[in-house]
Assembly symmetry: C2
Homo-oligomer: 111 residues x 2
Amino acid sequence: MRRYFHPDPADVCLPEVLFALSDATRLGIAVALADGAERTAGELGGDIAKSTMTHHLKILREAGLLYVRSEGTRCYNSLRLAELETRFPGLLDQLLGFAVKCGYTSADARR
Amino acid sequence: MRRYFHPDPADVCLPEVLFALSDATRLGIAVALADGAERTAGELGGDIAKSTMTHHLKILREAGLLYVRSEGTRCYNSLRLAELETRFPGLLDQLLGFAVKCGYTSADARR
């Protein structure tokens, strides 16, 4: 079972969080996961190339936004909502609210 | 007198704003300009190489965060606070508040 690196909440840096969300596809992934549920890369990515999704999910994970849980041969992705709320209260809510208003919905994660 | 391109507020995109602020130096520049005053690149950059500052100021300007006013041979930079507040209410306040808390102060623009 593969183990993934997840930064400690105290080490999550604002510039890295902003960089992780500075892309339409990654904003779409975050919007798709904003309900707190777990989703596989396939569920999130639709027809995006697997390697492209792996790249985007890695950036989100290494910035501290995403938690990846391995179960058998599958990986389940979820947003680290509670930890991000403790680190940057209100930030993710506000950013994802604007993302939805600007039209970066989960469909962007499938382009 | 040089004229600079400034995007229309309606064309300011969330991913570009987040990318512009996804760097310690650019966060420091934004923090330094948060009072609404105009400053020259020299005042903002300190001992940062002029070409590096030009690059950072261009990214902030093209993302819609910065207004550049030419006067004679000098250029004065200011944040487009009112327009950004209309486009993304509360966003810049929140981001710059976290930037200050995380220690990205105007000194970062002088590294």
